[in-house]
C-alpha cells in the first residue's frame, strides 16, 4: 500500500533533525518498544505484519504520532485482530475477558533474550526455483502497487536499474504480511542511477527487491 509511510523522495519535511541523537527521548518509549517485542510472541506476529499495521494508520496520524507510540498501537491492533483483546479493553486499558494462554503463551525473559541474540532465519537456501535475473541484467521495477503491504517503494516504480547482487531466496514480506506464509522469492540488490530516478545527478542508489517486483524491460 502506497500510503504516507512510503515517503522516499517526498519533499516538504524540512531539515533533518541532526541533533536528535537519542534512541529514546522518554521512558514510555522504552515500554512501547518492549511491549511490541514481547507481545509478538503471544499473539503471535512478525515484523512484516507489524509494519503493515503501522502503515494502516491514517496519514495524518502517521505523521503526528510518536514513532514508538505507533509501534505500541500497531502491536495492540494485532492483538485485537487475533481476538486477544477487545476494542473496549484497548480504549479503557482494563481487562474484561480471559484468553487461552496455552494457545498464546507469553515469552519469558530468557527466551526473549535468547531469540533476540540468535536472530531469525529468513532465507531458503534450498529454494527450487532458478533466479530469473543475473548480475548486470537491466530490470524495471513493476509499476503496479499492490493494495497490501509491499516493500517496493513508489519512487522506484517503473524505473530501470541493474542487478547488482543476487541475495538468495528470502521469505517474502508481501506474503507474510498478507498471511500467506513465507512464500520464498529470490531477492536482489538493484542499483539505480540518480538521473533515472530524479532526472539529474550522477550518484547511485541501491535497494533490495524481491523478484516479483521486477521485470525484464
Amino acid at each position: 500500500m502506497d500510503s504516507i509511510h512510503d515517503m522516499g523522495g517526498m519533499q516538504g519535511f524540512g531539515p533533518v533533525p541532526v541533533d536528535a541523537e537519542e534512541v529514546f527521548a522518554h521512558d514510555w518509549q522504552k515500554r512501547a518498544f518492549a511491549l511490541t517485542e514481547t507481545l509478538g510472541w503471544a499473539v503471535p506476529y512478525g515484523s512484516d505484519e507489524h509494519r503493515q499495521e503501522i502503515e494502516r494508520l491514517a496519514p495524518a496520524e502517521y505523521l503526528n504520532r510518536d514513532y514508538f507510540e505507533k509501534w505500541a498501537l500497531a502491536a495492540a491492533a494485532l492483538a485485537r485482530g487475533a481476538g486477544l483483546v477487545s476494542a473496549d479493553e484497548v480504549v479503557t486499558g482494563r481487562k474484561s475477558f480471559d484468553v487461552d494462554l496455552a494457545a498464546h503463551p507469553r515469552v519469558s525473559a530468557a527466551d526473549l533474550l535468547a531469540a533476540s541474540r540468535a536472530g531469525a532465519e529468513m532465507t531458503f537456501p534450498d529454494h527450487p526455483a532458478e533466479p530469473c535475473f543475473a548480475m548486470g541484467d537491466t530490470v524495471r521495477v513493476m509499476v503496479h502497487g499492490p493494495d497490501g503491504h509491499t516493500r517496493a517503494p513508489r519512487y522506484l516504480r517503473g524505473r530501470l536499474g541493474r542487478i547488482e547482487r543476487h541475495l538468495g531466496a528470502f521469505q517474502f514480506a508481501d506474503a507474510l504480511a498478507a498471511g500467506r506464509g513465507p512464500d520464498p522469492q529470490h531477492c536482489y540488490t538493484v542499483i539505480f542511477d540518480a538521473a533515472e530516478l530524479w532526472g539529474q545527478g550522477s550518484d547511485t542508489l541501491c535497494a533490495d527487491l524481491w523478484e516479483p517486483y521486477l521485470e525484464h524491460p
Binding site: M7, G9, P15, V16, Q29, D66, V99, L101, S116, G119
Partner: protein, 202 residues
C-alpha cells in the same frame, strides 16, 4: 510563513503525555491479560541499551582497519564476519558492509520504516527515523549530508542504500591517515555511529 508563525498544535506535551498514558494503559492491559511478562520487557530494554550499540560496530570497523584478512572477509560475507565477533541477533541476520573509498561515499537509509542493524549499532537515533531523513536521503543525499556537516567533492560518488528488504547495512569508513600504529581499541574510539551510517566522515 504559516508553518513558523502558527505553532504546530500537535507536537506539544499534551499529545506526548497522551501517548505515554496510552502506552502505559496498553502495557497494563497486556500484563493483566497474561500476554506479556513485565520481566521480559525489562530484560529486552536492558539488553538493547547495554549489549548493543555503536561500540559493537566500532569494534568491527577497528578490526577491519587493523586486519586485512578480516576486512576482506567482512566485505565478502558481512554476516559471518560480524557474527564471529559475537554481534548477532534480530535486524542483523543478513549484514552487508559497504566500504567508503576515495571515490565512493556510502549512506544508509530506510525509506519505508526505519530498518537499522541493531546488533552492531543498537536501536536507531531519532534523526534516522525522521520523515526528513527518510524522504530526502534517497533524492538529495548531498543536501542531507551537508546538514550533517559533510561536504563531498563532486567527483566522489554518493552511493545510497535503501534498506527495503532483509539486508542491513553498515558503512566501513576510511581509516584516518593519522592513525598508524594505533591499537584496535584506540581506532574504535575514533569510529562514530554516524560514520557507520554514512552521515559523517571518520
Amino acid at each position: 510563513m504559516p508553518h513558523d508563525t502558527h505553532d504546530h498544535d500537535h507536537d506539544h506535551d499534551p499529545l506526548e503525555q497522551g501517548a505515554a498514558l496510552r502506552v502505559r494503559a496498553l502495557e497494563e492491559l497486556m500484563v493483566a491479560k497474561g500476554l506479556v511478562d513485565p520481566a521480559a520487557m525489562d530484560a529486552i530494554v536492558e539488553y538493547y541499551e547495554t549489549e548493543t550499540g555503536p561500540r559493537n560496530g566500532a569494534a568491527v570497523v577497528a578490526r577491519a582497519w587493523s586486519d586485512p584478512d578480516f576486512k576482506e572477509w567482512l566485505l565478502r560475507d558481512g554476516s559471518a564476519a560480524i557474527a564471529s565477533m559475537g554481534f548477532t541477533g534480530f535486524q542483523g541476520e543478513y549484514m552487508r558492509v559497504v566500504e567508503n573509498t576515495d571515490t565512493v561515499h556510502n549512506i544508509v537509509v530506510c525509506t519505508l520504516c526505519s530498518c537499522y542493524p541493531w546488533p552492531v549499532l543498537g536501536l536507531p537515533p531519532t534523526w534516522y527515523k525522521s520523515p526528513a531523513y527518510r524522504a530526502r536521503t534517497v533524492r538529495e543525499p548531498r543536501v542531507v549530508l551537508s546538514e550533517f556537516g559533510v561536504e563531498l567533492p563532486k567527483e566522489m560518488r554518493v552511493q545510497v542504500w535503501d534498506s527495503t528488504a532483509e539486508i542491513r547495512y553498515l558503512v566501513l569508513p576510511q581509516r584516518p591517515s593519522d592513525t598508524e600504529g594505533e591499537t584496535p581499541e584506540a581506532l574504535a574510539a575514533r569510529v562514530t555511529r554516524n560514520g557507520m551510517i554514512g552521515t559523517a566522515r571518520v
